[in-house]
């Protein structure tokens, strides 16, 4: 509730910021862009904390055929342990004998623990102005429990190592109508698309830690909280590929590759950005 009051009282600020962005091109570019980024990066004005609140309620909500909550779900640190769990994902899970990211793992827990039909949940995987997303809300809540902590991706399981190798290859895989790969935009230092600064995600360092440490995020341009699954889906849209399958092994492979580049970096989530 405190989140809610805070958010609504500052909604006007956000509106002003968005209008401010429209006037950006007239200003002197880099400094102005940086100033805009700092202005919107205010956790006290971040509507994604509404998602955090809703996610907490969903985590504790009994549902599914078994009418139980997700509170016994093991996200890698033991049943029900949320603190620091997101900072170590994706990771290998022995019970499913696979590497999973948070969203895959949540679907797994819904199916195995709650006996919940996830079809309708997946249909709402990305929120719209009229529909909330249980997945986005749960991710906001759980990721927030790792905020301030550092990424720890040791890759000490052979399946994690394999996923990393696949993720790296996928990162460089060019295809479709414009020959794009992830590397097209994310392998140069200090490059921009239009006025958007592009992180170099091919190596460990500041770009990778700041990028991976700021997802999930509230996207001002979309007026929604978004997860890494959504970000990769949007990248493939721009790469002129078909929509990738939500929670697929390939997306998780890309995520473990990216998370490894951010190893040791601090999480500050949910963040807020353009």
């Amino acid at each position: 509730m405190t989140h809610r009051v805070r958010v609504f009282s500052l909604a006007a600020t956000l509106v002003l910021l968005v209008f401010g962005a429209a006037g950006l091109h007239a200003g002197d570019t880099e400094d102005e862009i940086q100033r805009y980024r700092e202005m919107i990066n205010d956790p006290m004005a971040n509507p994604a904390f509404l998602n955090v609140d809703r996610g907490e309620a969903l985590w504790k909500l009994a549902r599914g055929e078994k009418n139980v909550s997700l509170e016994t779900c093991d996200l890698g640190k033991g049943p029900g342990i949320l603190d620091g769990a997101y900072a170590e994902l994706p990771r290998y899970f022995a019970d499913s004998d696979s590497v999973m990211d948070l969203e895959q793992r949540l679907l797994w827990c819904m199916t195995t623990i709650q006996a919940l039909d996830t079809k309708e949940i997946v249909a709402r995987k990305f929120s719209t102005p009229g529909t909330t997303s249980d997945m986005e809300d749960l991710v906001a809540y759980i990721a927030n429990k790792s905020s301030g902590m550092t990424f720890h991706i040791p890759l000490d399981d052979v399946q994690e190592q394999n996923a990393y190798a696949v993720g790296e290859e996928l990162f460089y895989r060019r295809g479709s109508l414009l020959d794009f790969s992830c590397a097209t935009c994310h392998s140069a230092d200090s490059a921009r698309i239009r006025t958007t600064q592009l992180p170099n995600l091919t190596k460990p360092g500041k770009d990778a830690t700041e990028t991976m440490g700021s997802w999930p995020t509230y996207r001002v341009s979309q007026s929604q909280m978004r997860t890494m699954q959504n970000r990769l889906w949007d990248c493939y849209r721009q790469m002129r590929m078909p929509p990738p399958e939500y929670g697929s092994a390939g997306l998780t492979a890309l995520m473990i590759y990216l998370a490894k580049q951010a190893d040791g970096g601090t999480l500050n989530v949910p963040s807020i950005k353009r």
């Binding site: 696979s98 109508l177 490059a191 849209r237 002129r240 078909p242």
Partner: protein, 227 residues
């Protein structure tokens, strides 16, 4: 829509979905284990990756894509080579790419490569087309400004590619340079193997007329690019 509205739907479907998920996960793991060795050998042999390990994952990532979209999953030879060598192909591979891509370039029959710069500006500004969020009747854009500086009056430009400011002026508005530029936009990999720039003409992403208009945007003395 209540979060519980679907709680009592049939469990056979759910079990089936779960089994399918497990099967796919298992198959993926098996493939990854199998090809892991190949990956190492490939890396030792050539200093490059082994893109073949991605293909089962690509199939799985887009298993529900519509048939008309699935054709985009298949790489052509140049895409596969550039992926494998991470855009830094060894000389022999680069030569093959250059030869193959040069053979795709089709210059306008009448030799006229200059269209209308005002239309070229629209192509340079538009980043639309070919995305699953676009309508079927969306006119494709070249999105030149995403990566290049062009007219100095446009401050929203990217830096992945070189600045094209005063492009024609710096080349004395030469007819030969304009023809080379048409070919370059048609297929940049005919001159630079594994260039990051899309093969706009070879993929038929832009029409011949659109490419001519962009060439005019770069070469017309009245174009803002040359101001």
């Amino acid at each position: 829509m209540s979060p519980q509205s679907s709680a009592n739907r049939g469990s056979p479907m759910r079990t089936l979905t779960l089994c399918a998920a497990l099967f796919i996960a298992g198959a993926m793991n098996a493939v990854a284990h199998d090809t892991g060795e190949h990956h190492d050998e490939g890396a030792q042999r050539s200093g490059a990756g082994d893109p073949s390990i991605t293909e089962p994952y690509v199939q799985e990532m887009w298993r529900n894509a519509e048939a008309t979209w699935k054709v985009r999953l298949k790489q052509d030879e140049t895409q596969a080579s550039c992926s494998r060598f991470r855009n830094a192909p060894p000389d022999d591979v680069a030569e093959k790419i250059l030869a193959r891509e040069a053979s795709t370039v089709v210059l306008p029959k009448d030799g006229q490569v200059l269209g209308k710069w005002q239309d070229g500006e629209k192509v340079a500004q538009s980043g639309r087309g070919g995305q699953f969020s676009d309508n079927a009747d969306t006119v494709n854009g070249g999105n030149c400004y995403a990566c290049h500086q062009m007219a100095k009056s446009e401050l929203s430009f990217g830096t992945l590619g070189p600045s094209l400011s005063e492009y024609g002026k710096l080349r004395n508005f030469s007819a030969e340079a304009a023809r080379d530029t048409f070919a370059k936009i048609y297929n940049p990999q005919a001159t630079v193997a594994c260039s990051n720039m899309p093969r706009f003409g070879a993929h038929a992403f832009l029409t011949e007329q659109q490419i001519k208009d962009v060439v005019a945007y770069l070469f017309d003395p009245d174009s803002p690019v040359n101001k």
